[in-house]
């Protein structure tokens, strides 16, 4: 007996988009579409438990994507974000939250399905939209990224995929994935709240600005 399919739900205020995504999801036997809601509150009320929620970046109820992500993560599901082509600020904002990836709605269906499948496996998804938004963020200049990581980000932002970036830099795809993971972690750490001096110290250690505590 195979593993249980990953339960996928969608939050989008356009039923027709949800129906289209539902068709994609149901085409993958490893995935199960459990429901669609027009808002996160509606999702909690009407849709049963889900392992992965595909979230529209901008909902008409005025809710903030970052807040929606936090609520869904608190609910226990992973989040993948779909975007229609929003301004980079919103993408940056949501990139700092606990999302697996940001995918363009207009991407080819196969690309969207592959992203959903990867997210269902808990993998992070790197796309040109995500990379371009981060690469153009003025704050990235002060982030503790290595020159190679900045190079990977810039190449990704230009539209190249992992395989092409790896080929250009003469490294393996796994190395590129490692760089992307680190970029994601560093970016996620930017602007974390540091309400106390202890938290500020912790952020410094995590970002490599300060040496970690040593034993003895």
């Amino acid at each position: 007996m195979g593993a249980a399919p990953v339960r996928v739900a969608m939050v989008d205020d356009h039923a027709v988009i949800a129906m289209a995504v539902r068709g994609l999801v149901e085409s993958d036997p490893g995935l199960e579409f459990v429901g669609h809601a027009e808002s996160v509150s509606d999702l909690f009320r009407r849709v049963g438990p889900a392992d992965l929620v595909i979230l529209d970046l901008r909902l008409r109820d005025g809710s903030e994507a970052v807040h929606n992500v936090e609520r869904i993560r608190g609910w226990g599901a992973q989040v993948m974000v779909l975007t229609s082509g929003e301004d980079p600020y919103l993408i940056r904002e949501v990139s700092r939250s606990d999302v697996l990836g940001i995918v363009r709605k207009s991407a080819p269906p196969a690309t969207i399905l592959a992203a959903i499948a990867a997210a269902a496996r808990g993998e992070s998804i790197a796309t040109a939209e995500w990379a371009a938004a981060l690469d153009a963020d003025p704050d990235i200049e002060s982030a503790p990224l290595t020159a190679r990581e900045r190079e990977v980000l810039a190449l990704y932002a230009s539209g190249l995929g992992a395989k092409q970036v790896a080929a250009r830099l003469g490294v393996s795809e796994n190395t590129i994935d490692d760089h992307l993971r680190r970029i994601r972690a560093v970016y996620h750490a930017i602007h974390r709240p540091a309400n106390t001096k202890v938290e500020l110290y912790q952020r410094g250690v995590e970002d490599g600005f300060l040496p970690g505590p040593t034993a003895g």
């Binding site: 205020d13 356009h14 039923a15 027709v16 988009i17 129906m19 289209a20 068709g23 509150s41 901008r58 008409r60 109820d61 005025g62 809710s63 903030e64 970052v66 807040h67 936090e70 229609s84 082509g85 929003e86 301004d87 980079p88 600020y89 919103l90 904002e93 363009r104 709605k105 207009s106 991407a107 080819p108 269906p109 690309t111 040109a128 939209e129 371009a132 690469d135 153009a136 963020d137 003025p138 704050d139 810039a154 190449l155 932002a157 230009s158 539209g159 190249l160 995929g161 092409q164 250009r168 709240p193 309400n195």
Partner: protein, 719 residues
Amino acid sequence: MNAGRSELWMRRALLGAVGAFDLVAIIATQTVVGRIDPLALPGWYRILLVVCFVVPALVAIPALSAGVRTVRSLTIVAFVASVVPVSVLAVLLVVDPGRTGQLPWMVSATTSAAATAAIAWSARTAWIVVGALTAMIWALSALVGDLIPNRVANDIQVLVISIGIIALSGELIRSGRRIDEATVSALAAAERRAARQARQAAAERARAIVHDDVLATLLLAARGVPHLRGLLGEQAASAAQRVRTLAEPELSVEVRVADLADRLREVARVESPRVAFSARIARGAVDAVPAPAATALVAAARQALANSARHARGAATSLILFGMRDGIRVVVRDDGPGFDLATVPPDRLGVTATILGRVRAVADCAAEIESGRTGTTVTLGWRDPRHPAAPADEPDETVATPPRSLGPEMRIALVIGVVAELALAVYSATVVAIPLVPIAGIVAIGVALAVMGWRPLRVPGTARALWSTAFAVIAFVLVGLGDPAEYRLVIGWTANAGAFVLAVLAMRGRPFVALGGVGVGIALAAAVSAAQGVSEVDIVSVLARPAIIGIGAVGVVLVLAALGRRAARIRADEVEAARADAWRAAERAELLERVGRLDALIGRTLDRLAAAEPLSAEERRECALLEGALRDLYRGARLSREPLLSAVRRARGRGVDVVLFDDAPGEPITEAELDEIAVWMSAFLDGVGGGGFTGRILPADRPGRASAASEESATLFRG
């Protein structure tokens, strides 16, 4: 005369002051101010005198609500009335010479002529009028043997008052003119700002509709999923309707304040149990809010709470709804660590873009964020447009820049006033039995002015004002310390000089201290005089003028201040009304234009989709092209130009997934360079056979200006 509203009010107020002054003067001279040796004059002349002094008061009444031309005509009537007594007397004395005695006091009242000439024409005319009248009065005085100390003192003081009135009138009229000019520029600025904001808001509304409804519809249509055709048709119909009704006014459905409170309470409950909600509704507060405003305020409050929860974890947060007579205010406050808005790069102004932008895009709404070490406060508000404007949130552009120094007329008036009082002191010292009194008087006046300070446009501090008043009061009291037999010899010039000082104090912003000084000065002077055995009639006749000067000056200051406040309120209302009109006009124009463009671009396609019929491959391809073109406008608007536009269409037609990014939106790039990039990028794109393509304007400080990448290759544009 082409006066604005404030200038007109100033002219009306000045004419009103002239009327009131003349009325008080005629009553005082007819009741308490007597003469020792009056000139024998016919009865009809006495009646004429009274009539001439009553006329300005009578014309001032209709002038208070009259237009520019009428006010001027009425002022000229008052002017003629004020020069009639001396002119007729001159004729009378020439026709029937040989009379001797004191001229009537009213004849020498050149103040009304000075003021009305300044109001009707100009300060220069008023100077000429005063000069001519003063010369004529002195000639007449000499003709009838009236150059006695009282006459000299009186005429000098009247001259000083007249000069002061000319200077003050000129200053006030100029001030009104400055306010009018500032109002005109403020109206224009408010209209420009409102129109700009309205266009932005309209553009945002149009973009939101395209983003929320049109892109999704076209995308799904391009995918051609048969079982979704009905649903797609409904969405297309809805999108088409939203596009075509974009320029129609939003429904003005209202939300009751009580319901708004419930919605905010629910928001607070959902966001965090730590948020304390309270509603503070004042008596007589508005009971309903337009639905768009209520929706924007609730959404912004929700975002503010979400921000607070993220950035100020653990902090105490409150959400308060204030209901007021002129609107409502929603305040979100936390005591967590704040941030310095000024240091937030424009690129990261998400808070501004979401909370402030959303609220400010709605008519009559405002939003502000304050953040600092002690926490963050987000204030959201809606103001009832039917209610007079509250103090402006933005810098008040309607207030004229105050003059940094006195005008030349004021300076001349001050110099003449000081010299005249000094001359009067010297003259008094030579004619009175106790010269120490006028000497002490000039010292007291000098000290009072010195204590008040020499910067004429600065409001004196309380201590300075009180000390200055004390010395002015001493000048009042000195009236009673001379020889009682000479009590009316120079008609109490020290008290008049003290009153001048207090008048200056009132005009410099301390009217109530000055009023108190006049009251105390008059009372003490009367008491000292009575103790010296001076008769009540003499006391009243000597102290009437300083009382009129002091109280009149304070009255003028208070009336002008009230008028100024009223003018400011009306100006604010005018600005608000102009802003609202400009907003509506610009928004509608922008929306109509966008509706036209959108309808031309996608209307036919949406109608076709709304029919829910099967689409041909060509139609689906057209939908994909439209979706791509609209999406490019969001993320790469500067790249949407030929020949790249055509290359993108061709590429999408070949099935290439084209994405355009402008990642240097704040960077100025010349049109020529953008054209070069478009040519370069289109050449690359034409060589892409399939898969994906990303064209990107790079952020500043990169090795190239733009990049182009397909799944096979990537290249940089270096210019």
